[in-house]
Amino acid sequence: MTSWLCAIDHKRIGILYMLSALLFFLAGGMEAMVMRAQLAAPNLKLITPEIYNQMFTMHGTTMIFLVAMPVLTGFGVYLVPLMIGANEMALPRLGALSFWLQFFGGILLYFSFATGAAPSAGWFSYAPLSEKAFSPGVGLDYWALALLMIAAGSIGSAINLIATIATERAPGMTMRLVPLFVWMTLVTSIMIVFALPALAASLVMLLSDRMLQARFFDPSQGGAPLLWQHYFWIFGHPEVYIVVLPAFGMISEIIPVFSRKPIFGYPFVATSTVAIAFLSYGVWVHHMFAVALGRNFLAVFAAASMLIAVPTGMKIFSWIATMWGGSIRFTTAMLFAVAFLLEFTVGGLSGVAFATVPVDWQMTDTYFVVAHIHYVLLGGTVFALLAGVHYWFPKFSGRMLDEKLGRWSFWLIVLGFNTAFFVQHFLGLLGMTRRVYTYPNLPWFGALNLISTIGAAILVFGILLFCANIAMSLFFGSVAGDDPWNAWTLEWAASSPPALQNFAHPPEVRSRRPLWDRKHPETADWMRV
């Protein structure tokens, strides 16, 4: 126990990140189910509007800050040193500090329930609703303080990952040879360094308003609520890519291995990530189209938002081209990766629809937004994560996940997810607004909401089956061996699970597939170029 609490080894810190994310994922999932139960039929009164507001605020905040970011950081912290042939992170103690800041930030956020007033202003807490006059409870103070801690933790782990990738690579591993997951983790970490401080600055100003009688966001005293929106989304839009780019990295590792082909267009996949990072800082206003900001202003941000579809589309085509002509093995990991391509594309396309200003005006703050964000974050990030867990679990634990259970959970999750969220597109088009605790009995509203709730229940069942698979395989799974997938990157050269010292000898790197070269010296990649 103490050895885990005091751990500074990157593998243990990585596992701690993943476990804490799983814990909060279950909490956030329960909050979602409370909402879906309340919305199952028109005019239901299972919970009060106040509780409903707390549920969607905590659900959103939890899933973004306590699940998506930490679990991706966990994969990064665990895998990056292994993939670049290093034995440790560059700044191990900073790694531990970052994790505990993040974890206790989460505990602090959830402690607000014990005060009887969890935050209830939504995950982006728009001013002036978040001001003392309209949110007098302490919940919002907990929210702001917890997010400050989480922001500090995220910046710490990002700095650590950057320093690790910059200084710890094995001899011979240039930036042209690092695995794409490492590339995307690097770009994500740089984005965190530039984006999270904007959140921290907004939170400091909000706390000053609430506790020190400042008046940044209070229009009655000369403040500007729009300033909150600008600052929050200067953080918030890059944040979307922060929680999706590492998932792209996972997909870029998994699809080639199960297609038995190297990634198609490595330089394009890597550089399009950089393009996404740059563009993501120039699109924040597309969250604010409903604010009257002037036509030319909106046109610029609409164009920039559509532009992001180009580098993102390049990646999708690279993954498809990798599979094209490959000998594909449909393991559970590969199934999730292929499902990711489809689900994420749906989310990406509804995103392009939103970039069109008049469409946004019609659909903003409806269930169309809810459907869009869930196709991106669940259909995108979570599907890639599930692919990643099925792919790397043998490395983490030394045991294989059960393929049969894996397939069952895969089909349940796909069925449940699409049932729950696809119909929300139609609800949005019909005009159902988000964040309202109930709705009148209008045509289709009741039926579509009931379908959505049933879908959510199926999704929960699939997730629980996935958790059961992990718990059982940990003890009864077949022994994995070092390299169960016949893969190419260096983490599979270490033992499963890796020893405290990952590599007894620094690995030799001469191509993008160092393990392939070692296994097939006669047809090594570096001999071909």
């Binding site: 700044l91 320093a163 530039f194 921290a200 907004s202 100003m205």
Partner: protein
């Protein structure tokens, strides 16, 4: 090698801090909440901080005594900064002051191997103060 990691880590951290302070100062300037800092004590503050970078620079060259001089000047700066207490501007000055306090603690208790990284931190927050003073001089509310 350790030093290179620490320097790189500190550079990235200060990059994040630069974004943080840029947005804060921007907001304060936007609302004209930075007073025109013409009081002599403000200039004393600034001169003190500039002097501390000199002593820090001497200290990193290997003299422990100069590091204690830096700490003494830093404490004097923080005490002098209390002149803003009670104004909205103190929120900004106070956040800057808290960062300097953290720097002083690191300087007093941190390992000698981290000295260069701490010095980098100190120079950076001197620069932040100069930026605030410049904004105040050209854009401060009378």
């Amino acid at each position: 090698m350790t030093n290179r990691r620490a320097q790189l880590g500190m550079t990235m951290f200060l990059t994040a801090e630069a974004v943080f302070f840029f947005l804060l100062v921007l907001a304060f300037a936007y609302f004209r909440e930075i007073p025109a800092l013409i009081a002599p004590r403000v200039w004393l503050c600034t001169v003190l901080l500039l002097a501390s970078t000199l002593s820090m620079w001497r200290g990193t060259a290997g003299s422990g005594l100069w590091l204690w001089v830096t700490i003494a000047i830093g404490v004097a700066f923080l005490l002098d900064q209390a002149v803003f207490f009670g104004t909205t501007f103190f929120i900004l000055a106070g956040i800057h002051g808290l960062h300097l306090l953290a720097g002083l603690i690191a300087l007093a208790m941190g390992p000698i191997s981290a000295l260069r990284a701490i010095a980098l931190y100190w120079y950076f927050f001197t620069a932040v103060w100069l930026a605030i003073v410049l904004v105040a001089y050209f854009w401060g509310a009378a």
